[in-house]
């Protein structure tokens, strides 16, 4: 989108308004990606924080070939992956008193979506990280398998297999709704 290109151009030239606009436009999306990957809201917030700091610090070096949204989500995914490797995070189940709030919805829909969100989050947490990451990158960040393969320096067939195994396990978990 040209709006994103203009925003990025203004941001790289030091516009604080452009930075605020980028943040407001993509905050929900990026925290969603990070939470889906890490299943831990505090860790997801840390990743979002770290990402924006490094985004500003490396403004001069940003070279965008594709779209801004995918670029931001890929950076967040990379940081999430680093965090998993560094901390060997144990995904925590959602606290009933601190649910992951879905975006704006009618009250009944909120109740339903909160439950679905909690169940989905729990099921995702039981997948190996590589499978979870591919599912998130493909279904939420809308990357193709070829793009994910290039990002992770692995073959497309490996990516497809991990995706398939991940989705099979997810389906099995969601259909049985087995929550450990």
């Amino acid at each position: 989108m040209l709006e994103d290109k203009l925003l990025l151009w203004k941001f790289k030239h030091g516009s604080s308004e452009a930075l605020e606009r980028i943040y407001d436009k993509y905050e929900t999306y990026l925290i969603t990606v990070a939470t889906a990957l890490l299943n831990n809201t505090h860790a997801a917030e840390d990743v979002l924080h770290d990402f924006f700091i490094s985004f500003v610090e490396s403004a001069d070096n940003i070279k965008l070939n594709g779209n801004l949204k995918a670029y931001l989500a890929t950076c967040v995914a990379n940081l999430a992956r680093n965090q998993i490797k560094r901390r060997q995070l144990e995904p925590i189940a959602l606290d009933e008193n601190d649910p992951i709030a879905p975006a704006i919805l009618e009250p009944d829909a909120v109740a339903i979506q909160e439950e679905e969100t909690a169940i989905l989050n729990q099921a995702m947490s039981q997948l190996p990280y590589e499978q979870r990451e591919i599912i998130v990158l493909h279904l939420q960040v809308n990357l193709k398998f070829t793009q994910i393969a290039e990002l992770r320096s692995t073959s497309v067939n490996t990516i497809r297999s991990r995706y398939r195994y991940g989705m099979d396990k997810l389906r099995s978990l969601l259909n049985s709704e087995v929550i450990k």
């Binding site: 709006e3 943040y23 929900t28 975006a103």
Partner: protein, 217 residues
């Protein structure tokens, strides 16, 4: 039994609402870093030269301008005496014995902002607002967003978020004016540039520029 397609849909629609504190926590720090980088970087004069260098960027200049000048009301011809840089604002002090330090300049900015938000500023020229400060000094402000003068970053963020939410609602209801600016070509693709103008409930007019790629004939 949930099908694969249904599960793909659930995952794609998974959506998390960030905590409200996140915006001020993350953005404040990012903006501070950006400000420091800007101060260490190219001067405003050089920035103008860079902005005006190419035909393409000349158009974008109007939407980039963000620097603000505050000056005591001798904004006619007068010799510049002092120069302060307070947050994002350049204060040029001419013929004043009441603004001598950065704190004086800061106080003047805060008072200007307060008076503006109370509706006590007068637009003496398009885009130039003047007030009389409590110390009797006449102050003029030239630039965008005078309503933000003197606000803390949190206050400014709240105001900006409310403004962005209102713009989004106006866009969804189609309650805005679109003006065609011109057509440009980029890498062989024709792009029509438009400006959308939103009139907020406060009376403030916000303009946003964007472009639409034209399909090849």
């Amino acid at each position: 039994m949930k099908s694969l397609k249904h599960i793909q849909k659930i995952v794609a629609k998974f959506n998390v609402k960030p905590r409200s504190e996140m915006r001020s926590k993350v953005l404040n720090e990012a903006l501070q870093i950006q400000r420091k980088r800007n101060q260490q970087g190219v001067s405003d004069t050089c920035k103008w030269r860079i902005i005006m260098k190419t035909r393409r960027t000349r158009f974008a200049a109007a939407v980039i301008i963000g620097f603000v000048v505050l000056l005591p009301l001798a904004y006619g011809a007068a010799k510049i005496v002092k120069h302060f840089f307070v947050d994002d604002i350049t204060v040029i002090v001419k013929n004043s014995d009441k603004i001598n330090t950065e704190q004086d300049a800061r106080n003047a900015i805060q008072e200007f902002g307060k008076l503006y938000r109370e509706g006590k500023a007068k637009e003496v020229k398009p885009g130039v607002w003047a007030v009389t400060l409590s110390n009797g000094e006449e102050f003029a402000y030239s630039g965008d967003n005078p309503e933000w003068a003197g606000l803390s970053l949190d206050e400014k963020n709240k105001l900006l978020k409310a403004q962005n939410d209102e713009i989004q609602k106006l866009r969804e209801t189609g309650d805005f004016e679109r003006t065609f600016i011109k057509e440009v070509e980029e890498n062989g693709v024709k792009i029509r540039l438009y400006e959308d103008q939103f009139t907020l409930s406060s009376g403030k007019v916000v303009k946003m520029t964007f472009g639409e790629e034209q399909p090849p004939k």
